[in-house]
C-alpha cells in the first residue's frame, strides 16, 4: 500500500503562518523566515514551469524569487498603507495580517488546485542532502564560535583551526576521493564559503566593518519608523530595501534583532552566490574543474571573503547579480525561464544595492547591443529588448526616484572633472604600480598625515579655531604588531599567492577577450550576450583598479569581486569542449594525478590567502583581525562600549555643535547617524581639532593609538592623550573610552 503524500506547499504555508503568529523563538524565526521565502519562491518557479531545470539552478532562482517577493511585499505594504494614513505600516500587526492572509490564500489555492510547487521545487533533494546539510552547518557555527572566543578570551586557536578547515573543505571539493564520501561538492563549497565569511562580522564584539555601521543606523531608523519609504530622506541607503524593509520585516514578523540579521544573512546570501555559480559551472565543466574554478575565483577571492561580509547590502545584490549571470549562461533553461532569472536578478540588484545595479544595467545593455550586433537568433536571445529595458529601467528608476542617487553620481563626475582619472598613482616601477593599483588602504607615516592635516587647515578648515598649543604636539608613529611569520616559507607563500592572484586576473582577461572574439566572429553567436556583459565588467574593473579617482568611490576590490563572479562562469563556458580539456583527459593516470596535485596547490594557495592564513606565515605582514587579537586591523574594530559612549555623545551634543573622532572611532558615531552629519570632522590630530569641538576617544585611542588620513592613505600615530587631558574638560569616562569637552573659554 502506498503512503499518501501530503501537499508540502499547504503544510509549509500553514506552518509558516503559525510561526509568524507564535512568540519569537529561534526555531519559529528560522521556520518563518525560510518558509516565507520558500513558499513565494516555489510559487514563482511553478509559474515559470521550472521543474525540469537542474536542482541547484532551481534552488538558486527559487531563493532569489522568494527573497525578492519578501522584499517587494514589504515595500508595497509600506507604500500603500502609508497613503491611507497608517503611521507604522511595517509594524507587527499589519505585516502579520498581510503575510498570514497571503500564506492562507496560498495554502487554499494550492489545496484546491491540487498542485504542490514546494515539492516540485525540492525534487531531487534527498535524505543524503539533508544529512550533509546538517553536518556541513557545523563549520559555520565554528566560525561564529571562533570569533566570539577571539573577542572574549583573546584566543585565536579556534579561528585559525576554522580557517584551516575552510581550506581543507575547498580542497576536498576538488579532490576525487570525495566520491566515496558522497558529499555533494556544492554543499562543501557553500559551507566553506559561508564559514570563511562568518569569521569576520562579529569581531570586536559589535559589528566589524566600515559601511556596516551606517547600514546599522539606517536599519535602526527603519525599524523605529516601521515605514517605507522612510518618513524623511536620509541618503541613498534609505532607498535600499536590503537596509530598510528587510530588517524591519524580519524584526516585526519574527522578532529578529538587527545585529543578528546583519551578521548572519549577508554571509548566507554569499553562500547562495556560490550555489548559483556552481550550478552554472557544473553544466559546462566536469565536477573537479568546476570545483577548482569555484575555489580560485570565488572561495579564493580576497574581497569576496574579507570585505563583502561586512557590506551587507552588496551581499544580497551579488546574489541577484549571479542570477543574471546564471540566466545568461544556463544551457538547461528555456529562454523564457532564463529571461525570468535575469529579470528577477536585475530587479533584485536594483532594490538592494545601487552601485551594483548601475554596473549590472551597463553590463546588460552592453550584452544586448553585442547580441544585436552579431544577430543572435531572436527566439534564443536572453537579453531581449523587454528584458534589457526591465533591468536597466528598474535600476535607473529605483536609483533615481526612490534612492535618489543623483548627488552621489554627481560627486563622482565632479571628482573626475576636477582630478581626471589619475591612473596608476603612486611611485615605483610599472610592476609595483600595477600590483598596488589604486589601492585605497595604503598605510603612511604620521609625518605624511601631519602634512596633509596642515594643508587641510589652510584650505578646507580655515574656519576652524585651533588651540595654539596644538602646533607643539608632534605626531609620533605607532606601528602595530605584525606577524612573526615563518622565515622563507612565509615569503614563498606570499610570492606564490600573489602570482596565483595575478594569473587568475590574467586568465579572466584572456577568456573575456576570447569570448568577445568568438561572439564577434560569429563562431559562437550564442555567447554574444555573455561576452558583452563580461566585457563591460572587465573594462569597468580595469578602470576602477587603476584610477585613483574612481577607486575612492567605487572600491576596486569590490568591483573585482563582482566581476569575478561573472568571469568564473565565462572561463567555464570557454573551456567547455575546448581541445585543452580533451588533451587533459587523454593523459595517463599518473600525469592526471600530477595535474590534480598542481590544481590542489593553486586552489589551496588561493583559499589560504583569502582566509588570510598566509598573512600569519609571512614575516612583517599585517595580522588579520579574523585570526588575531592584535595588529592594525584589530585596532580598527569597535566594541559595544564604544557604541554605548557614542549614544551618550549623540544625546548630549545636539547638532550643529561640532564633534570629532579619529577615522575608526568615527564608526561608533556612524551607528548614531554621524555619517550624514555636517558638523563632524574625522580627525584627532590636534592641528585640526577645533577648540569648541567635543572629541570622542574610542578604546583604541585610550589604549594609545590613533589613525588619521583619508580614503586613500591612513597613518597610525600615538594618541596625544596628554594634550587632551591638559587642555580639555572630560565629560564621560569608562575604563576604555572617554569624551573630551571644549577647551574652556579662558582655560589653559
Amino acid at each position: 500500500m502506498t503512503r499518501t503524500k501530503p501537499n508540502l506547499s499547504v503544510v509549509l504555508a500553514v506552518v509558516t503562518a503559525v510561526a509568524i503568529l507564535l512568540p519569537p523563538t529561534p526555531l519559529a524565526q528560522l521556520v518563518g523566515g525560510v518558509g516565507t521565502v520558500t513558499c513565494v519562491g516555489a510559487l514563482a518557479l511553478s509559474w515559470r514551469r521550472a521543474g525540469d531545470v537542474p536542482m541547484a539552478q532551481r534552488l538558486a532562482i527559487g531563493i532569489g524569487a522568494g527573497f525578492l517577493g519578501f522584499l517587494m511585499v514589504g515595500a508595497l505594504l509600506g507604500s500603500v498603507l502609508s497613503l491611507v494614513g497608517v503611521t507604522r505600516p511595517l509594524s507587527r500587526l499589519p505585516l502579520s495580517v498581510c503575510w498570514v492572509v497571503l500564506l492562507s490564500g496560498l495554502a487554499a489555492f494550492e489545496g484546491r488546485r491540487g498542485t504542490d510547487p514546494v515539492r516540485a521545487s525540492l525534487e531531487g533533494v534527498t535524505r543524503r542532502h539533508a544529512v550533509w546539510l546538517l553536518v556541513l552547518s557545523v563549520p559555520p557555527m565554528l566560525a561564529l564560535w571562533g570569533a566570539v572566543t577571539l573577542d572574549t578570551s583573546g584566543s585565536a586557536s579556534l579561528a585559525i583551526v576554522t580557517a584551516t578547515l575552510v581550506v581543507v573543505m575547498a580542497l576536498l571539493a576538488i579532490a576525487k576521493p570525495i566520491r566515496r564520501l558522497a558529499v555533494p561538492r556544492a554543499m562543501l563549497l557553500v559551507s566553506a564559503f559561508v564559514t570563511a565569511a562568518l569569521q569576520g562580522p562579529l569581531r570586536g564584539g559589535w559589528l566589524a566593518g566600515v559601511d556596516t555601521q551606517h547600514e546599522f543606523y539606517i536599519g535602526s531608523v527603519a525599524i523605529r519608523e516601521a515605514a517605507f519609504p522612510l518618513t524623511h530622506f536620509l541618503d541613498p541607503y534609505g532607498g535600499m530595501l536590503s537596509l530598510t524593509v528587510l530588517p524591519t520585516e524580519l524584526n516585526s514578523l519574527f522578532g529578529l534583532n538587527l545585529r543578528t540579521t546583519m551578521v548572519l544573512l549577508p554571509s548566507l546570501f554569499l553562500g547562495c552566490c556560490m550555489l548559483a555559480v556552481w550550478s552554472t559551472l557544473r553544466e559546462r565543466c566536469a565536477a573537479s574543474l568546476a570545483a577548482f574554478l569555484s575555489c580560485v575565483f570565488v572561495v579564493g577571492s580576497i574581497p569576496l571573503l574579507q570585505e563583502l561580509p561586512v557590506i551587507t547590502r552588496q551581499c544580497y545584490a551579488l546574489f541577484f547579480f549571479t542570477l543574471i549571470v546564471l540566466g545568461l549562461t544556463s544551457k538547461s533553461m528555456r529562454p523564457s525561464q532564463a529571461r525570468f532569472a535575469v529579470v528577477i536578478g536585475g530587479i533584485g540588484v536594483a532594490v538592494t544595492h545601487y552601485s551594483t545595479a548601475y554596473l549590472a544595467a551597463g553590463a546588460v545593455i552592453c550584452g544586448y547591443l553585442l547580441s544585436l550586433a552579431v544577430r543572435e537568433a531572436r527566439e534564443r536571445r536572453v537579453l531581449t529588448l523587454p528584458v534589457t529595458v526591465a533591468v536597466a529601467g528598474f535600476a535607473v528608476a529605483w536609483g533615481g526616484l526612490v534612492a535618489r542617487t543623483g548627488s552621489s553620481i554627481g560627486q563622482v563626475l565632479s571628482a573626475i572633472r576636477a582630478d581626471g582619472f589619475d591612473f596608476l598613482p603612486g611611485s615605483g616601477g610599472l610592476i609595483s604600480r600595477w600590483l598596488n593599483a589604486a589601492s585605497i588602504n595604503r598605510l603612511v607615516s604620521a609625518g605624511v598625515i601631519r602634512a596633509q592635516d596642515l594643508t587641510l587647515l589652510r584650505h578646507s578648515y580655515r574656519w576652524m579655531t585651533v588651540s595654539p598649543s596644538a602646533f607643539n604636539v608632534h605626531l609620533v608613529n605607532d606601528p602595530a604588531p605584525t606577524a612573526g611569520g615563518v622565515p622563507a616559507v612565509g615569503s614563498l607563500l606570499s610570492v606564490s599567492s600573489t602570482l596565483v592572484a595575478e594569473l587568475t586576473l590574467l586568465l579572466a582577461a584572456v577568456v573575456v577577450v576570447v569570448t568577445v572574439f568568438l561572439a564577434v566572429t560569429k563562431r559562437r553567436k550564442e555567447l554574444a550576450s555573455l561576452a558583452g556583459f563580461a566585457l563591460f565588467l572587465a573594462v569597468f574593473a580595469a578602470v576602477s583598479r587603476f584610477s585613483q579617482t574612481l577607486g575612492v568611490d567605487f572600491a576596486p576590490s569590490r568591483v573585482q569581486a563582482q566581476a569575478y563572479l561573472a568571469f568564473v562562469v565565462v572561463v567555464g563556458v570557454v573551456l567547455e569542449g575546448h581541445p585543452v580539456l580533451g588533451w587533459l583527459r587523454a593523459r595517463a593516470a599518473s600525469q592526471r594525478r600530477v595535474l590534480l596535485a598542481c590544481g590542489l596547490v593553486i586552489a589551496g594557495l588561493a583559499v589560504a590567502t583569502s582566509t588570510e592564513l598566509v598573512n600569519l606565515a609571512e614575516r612583517g605582514a599585517q595580522l588579520p583581525s579574523n585570526l588575531s587579537m592584535t595588529g592594525e586591523q584589530a585596532q580598527r574594530l569597535i566594541s559595544p562600549e564604544d557604541v554605548e559612549v557614542a549614544a551618550w555623545l549623540k544625546a548630549n551634543r545636539p547638532a550643529p555643535l561640532l564633534v570629532q573622532a579619529d577615522r575608526f572611532g568615527q564608526l561608533a558615531l556612524d551607528i548614531e547617524g554621524y555619517n550624514d552629519r555636517r558638523d563632524f570632522v574625522s580627525s584627532v590630530d590636534p592641528v585640526i581639532v577645533a577648540i569648541h569641538s567635543w572629541v570622542f576617544a574610542y578604546h583604541t585611542n585610550l589604549a594609545g593609538s590613533a589613525r588619521g588620513g583619508n580614503n586613500a592613505e591612513v597613518g597610525v600615530f600615538k594618541f596625544p592623550l596628554r594634550f587632551y587631558t591638559s587642555t580639555r574638560s572630560i565629560l564621560y569616562v569608562t575604563s576604555t573610552d572617554a569624551v573630551f569637552g571644549d577647551v574652556p573659554y579662558d582655560g589653559p
Partner: protein
C-alpha cells in the same frame, strides 16, 4: 436482489479525501511541534551560547557629568553639578573630588550592576581657574571640568 447504491462508492470518497487528510495531519503535527520545540529552542540556544563563551556584555563602570553642556561651559566656583555613575559587576564605586592635588570630597556608593547613582558635586572648595577632577574607582581617566572665579 438489491440494486447497488448510486453515486461514488464510500471507499473512493475516502481515497479522494486521503491527501487532504494527510496534509491536514502533517500541518497540525508540524505546527504543534513548532510551538513545542520553538518554546524549547530558546533555552537550548542559550546553553549553546554559554558553552561557546557567548555572554551578554557585562555592565562596565562609567561616570559622566549629568548636564554636560553646563559643566563644559559655564561652571563657576560654588556652583554644584551632577555626577552620574554606573555600577560595574562589583556594584561598588569610590569617588574622589580634587582641586590641584588636594582631595576636597569623596564617597562610596553601591548599587546593582548596570544601575546608576547620582552625586551632587560641590565646587565651593575648588580653586578658581583650575581643573576640578573626579576620580572613580576602576576607571583610569578622571572626569574634569574647569571652574571659573
Amino acid at each position: 436482489m438489491a440494486q447497488p447504491q448510486q453515486g461514488r462508492p464510500i471507499s473512493s470518497a475516502r481515497a479522494a479525501l486521503a491527501p487532504h487528510r494527510a496534509t491536514a495531519g502533517w500541518a497540525v503535527a508540524a505546527s504543534v511541534s513548532l510551538a513545542l520545540l520553538g518554546w524549547a529552542s530558546g533555552p537550548i540556544l542559550h546553553v549553546f551560547q554559554q558553552a561557546a563563551g557567548w555572554k551578554p556584555t557585562a555592565p562596565q563602570a562609567a561616570a559622566w557629568v549629568q548636564d554636560a553642556a553646563i559643566a563644559d561651559k559655564t561652571l563657576v566656583v560654588g556652583q554644584p553639578f551632577g555626577l552620574e555613575m554606573r555600577f560595574g559587576v562589583s556594584g561598588h564605586l569610590h569617588w574622589a573630588e580634587r582641586t590641584g592635588t588636594r582631595v576636597i570630597a569623596s564617597g562610596n556608593v553601591s548599587g546593582a550592576p548596570g544601575s546608576t547613582s547620582v552625586q551632587i558635586i560641590s565646587t565651593s572648595a575648588a580653586l578658581p581657574d583650575r581643573w576640578v577632577t573626579i576620580s572613580v574607582s576602576g576607571i583610569a581617566l578622571p572626569l574634569q571640568v574647569w571652574v571659573r572665579p
